[in-house]
Amino acid sequence: MLTLTDVTVRFGDRTAVDGVSLAVAEHETVCVLGPSGSGKSTLLRAIAGLQTTDAGRISLAGRDLAGVPVHRRGVGLMFQDHQLFPQRDVAGNVGFGPRMHGVPREEAAARTAELLGLVGLPGAGRRAVATLSGGEQQRVALARALAPRPELLMLDEPLGQLDRSLRERLVVELRRLFRDLGTTVLAVTHDQGEAFALADRVVVMDAGRIAQTGTPVEVWQRPASAFVARFLGFTNVADATVHGAVADTPWGKVPVPADAAQGGRTVLIRPAGVRLTGVADGLPCHVEGRTFRGDHVLVLLRPDDAPPLEAACPLTEAPEPGTTVGAQFLAEHVSVLGA
């Protein structure tokens, strides 16, 4: 459906998007994930035609988009802060796209009503956009983007400004909606939870380049690099030398899965792979703090001369801050990256 080949966008001497190649299949939902400034929004703008590219090719449904003006590209874009037209009511916003495409009035009205129903706002057509809550605005923006039946729907931080519980609910709704409509979706977000919940496939971007592509499970289980692992929220990441089933790390010898790649590597120890023991039985660590995470506690450990470690620990067994414990490592929760 959408194919990007070596797309590059430069702002002066800064390269915002650096030779990105990416394909999105029909009915697929792809999420571009990256920290702010990684070039993901620029990528969307380039596809929409709001940003000229310096090199590379963008084609949609077999059509090369070079030189095609924004309004003829047939893509939908939901803006980060929605950008609803303030002077129009809800129906005026949703019906805007069909109107621009010359859809007859009754048909556009029917389409508007249908979409408002789909996004859970039936009968809201006459409301002024200023009276909408954040979540409602988000729904209207989605309905507006879907109304002209774009071949590709792009979402820029779709849930960025909403509060947590609303976000979690909407992610589920969006996923169902896209599946039901068979929409092809390209979304960008900086929130891994959002990306993993929404996407069939995740693309992690770092400084304008693609750092990793894969299904949410793949990316989560096997981050391609230290950058991806850290971006996903893991802190127990370090350079190591792997010999057989043991890695030599700043935290000492750490067992790794038997099939691990050998030699100089980056090792990730998930918090669940750090088990707390008596001081004498493991790496001695000072307990610096604890964070409750619902079903477990994340314990921040500081070994004597190694980087800090995070350990996941059952609620009842969490040590007090200020005490000293030992840390042992479990091979099944350790990954050797980049292999």
Binding site: F11, L50, P69, L77
Partner: protein
């Protein structure tokens, strides 16, 4: 003047964006569109402004195909001229300072307080601004002049002093400050100041650190406007200055019309041109830099009834100033128009219906002339100014910024020069317009365009670019984007611009006096002609005609406020 009053943009923090990014956003297609947008206003200014002014300057400074720049020395060496220059400068500075001093409290009161009759009062203070300078002159003459109200009451005459001029300038420009500064002030979020207070700033410090910097561009813009208007003041001084005081503009008129000394007029025109250009350049350099995205809110949410003795006293003070300075002169003008030698009556008005020695046609016909000229001039100004504003908004580049400043020039250029330039330059085919009626609206539109641009530009600039992008992504062509996004947001500003253009066209005097044909005078020209003749009846008729002109302007203005009120549901 007045920015669109309700929430035009809830200026959310603009996205962090590389400035270089925007420049390349609209590739080739964009530059073609921009060129198209600029072409019409540029051609208009070239033909109807640059060419006539250049022609008049050339006629004055060229002798047998040779430029005579020595005339600069001759003219500027004349002590009389030097006195004119000095007077022009200091009276403009004094008028500006006095206007700010008197009008800034008014701006505050209008922005932050709710009180009964506020809407009406806002219209009332705007009336003087749209009044023709000639009417302002007559009103102050009726108040301060020989046989005027003060003369009768306490034997005080100010028409031979500079005070009459300064007060008339304050009268005229009060609304500029109230609307420009007050309009922005009303939209500043009071929570910003509250945030500063919470952070430990005192009342005064919060005002000085938060509100004042936000207001500064508006204050500077208002001051610049007032300075420009008073620097080039013509009608007011022509009537109140008598033989004692002359601004550059008046002197240019005298040299041109009375002494037929074109070289002197040309030199003075150039001097005025340079001075105005300098002021505009300073303005562009200082204000533009500070034009930042402010968080604007609905003014209805920022105003409240005055609380406490201090605030009530401030409100009362402003009301008293408005009553004495703005309402009284107009009231006296109306009173004089009825005070015939035979007692109060309609005698002066009845005389307006018949032609006598002064006019080939009944003076009342000037009303119809003025209205149709002003309507055409408004249409021209809206098209030219609207296109120019749209072109300037699209992208900021050095060229475009220069164009922006250029658009202001007609405000500061001697209207007399333009008018005479029209007569001199547009008299040959293919542009032989000497006897064409369109000449008058064209000259008037020239003065209207800067108002249209100034009114439209802030609003157009405030339209979030991403709204336009959203529309484009949804399938709107560039033209549809303008039609669907920009236009609805600026429609109110467009109406305001139309109103101002109409009013200044109606009151335009300096250029019209040269080009309006004797049998087709406009209202201000007719008033000036009547005032120029001796006799109680001529004076009375001038007052009557001024009253009519004032009413026409006031009605236009009230209609405008009405239209704006009706549109509020849309925004």
């Amino acid at each position: 003047m007045d920015l669109a009053r309700r929430e035009v943009t809830t200026t959310q923090e603009p996205p962090r964006r590389d400035p270089r990014e925007s420049r390349r956003r609209w590739p080739l297609r964009g530059s073609a569109v921009r060129f198209g947008l600029i072409a019409v206003p540029a051609a208009f200014f070239a033909v109807f402004f640059a060419y006539p002014v250049a022609a008049i300057v050339a006629r004055g400074l060229k002798d047998g195909g040779q430029w005579r720049f020595g005339r600069f020395g001759e003219v500027l060496g004349d002590p009389g001229i030097r006195e004119v220059l000095w007077f022009t400068l200091w009276q403009a500075a004094a008028s500006t300072a006095l206007t700010l001093l008197i009008a800034l409290p008014g701006a505050y009161v209008f922005a932050r307080f709710d009180f009964p009759g506020k809407q009406l009062l806002r219209a009332v203070v705007t009336v003087p601004f749209v009044l023709p300078t000639v009417v302002v002159g007559s009103a102050f003459l009726a108040l301060l002049g020989r046989g005027g109200l003060l003369d009768e009451a306490v034997g005080l005459r100010l028409d031979t002093t500079v005070w009459a001029i300064l007060l008339a300038h304050v009268f005229f420009n009060y609304a500029v400050v109230v609307r420009t500064v007050g309009g922005l002030w009303a939209q500043l979020d009071p929570r910003q100041e509250e945030a500063a207070r919470v952070l430990g700033a005192g009342r005064l410090a919060a005002f000085r650190r938060v509100t004042l910097p936000a207001l500064a561009p508006a204050v500077a813009a208002a001051a610049l406007m007032v300075f420009l208007f008073t620097f080039t003041s013509f009608g007011v001084i022509q009537i109140l200055g008598g033989p004692y005081f002359a601004t550059l503009e008046v002197e240019i008129y005298r040299q041109t019309a009375d002494f037929l000394d074109l070289p002197a007029a040309a030199v003075l025109s150039l001097v005025q041109f340079a001075a105005v250009g300098g002021v505009l350049a300073v303005h562009a350099a200082t204000v533009r830099r500070r034009e930042t995205a402010l968080r604007l809110v609905d003014p209805e949410r920022t105003s409240r009834p005055p609380r406490g003795a201090g605030e009530r006293a401030l409100l009362a003070g402003v009301l008293v100033v408005v009553a004495i300075l703005l309402v009284l002169p107009l009231a006296v003008l109306v009173e004089r128009s009825f005070a015939t030698p035979e007692g109060y009556g309609l005698g002066f008005y009845e005389r307006l219906r018949s032609a006598d020695g002064t006019f080939a046609v009944p003076p009342l016909e000037a009303v119809a002339n003025s209205l149709s000229y002003a309507a055409v001039a408004t249409a021209i100004a809206l098209v030219v100014g609207g296109l120019a504003a749209a072109a300037v908004t699209r992208r900021a580049g050095r060229l475009v910024r220069g164009f922006d400043a250029l658009l202001m020039l007609p405000l500061g250029t001697s209207a007399v020069t333009v008018g005479f330039g029209f007569v001199v330059a547009l008299d040959e085919p293919p542009l032989d317009l000497r006897s064409a009626w369109i000449l008058v609206p064209l000259a008037q539109a020239l003065v209207g365009v800067p108002f249209v641009v100034r009114t439209m530009l802030p609003v157009l600039r405030a339209v979030d670019d991403r709204l336009r992008e959203a529309a484009a992504v949804l399938g709107a062509s560039p033209w549809r984007v303008w039609r669907e996004v920009d236009f609805p947001l600026v429609r109110r500003a467009l109406l305001v611009a139309a109103g101002f253009a109409f009013a200044v066209s109606l009151g335009e005097f300096g250029a019209t006096v040269f080009i309006a044909r004797a049998d087709n005078p406009t209202l201000p020209v007719a008033v000036a002609r009547l005032l120029g003749r001796a006799g109680e009846y001529n004076y009375g008729q001038a007052m009557a005609l001024s009253t009519i002109l004032m009413l026409v302007c006031a009605v236009a203005l009230l209609l405008l406020e009405r239209l704006r009120g009706d549109g509020s549901g849309e925004f």
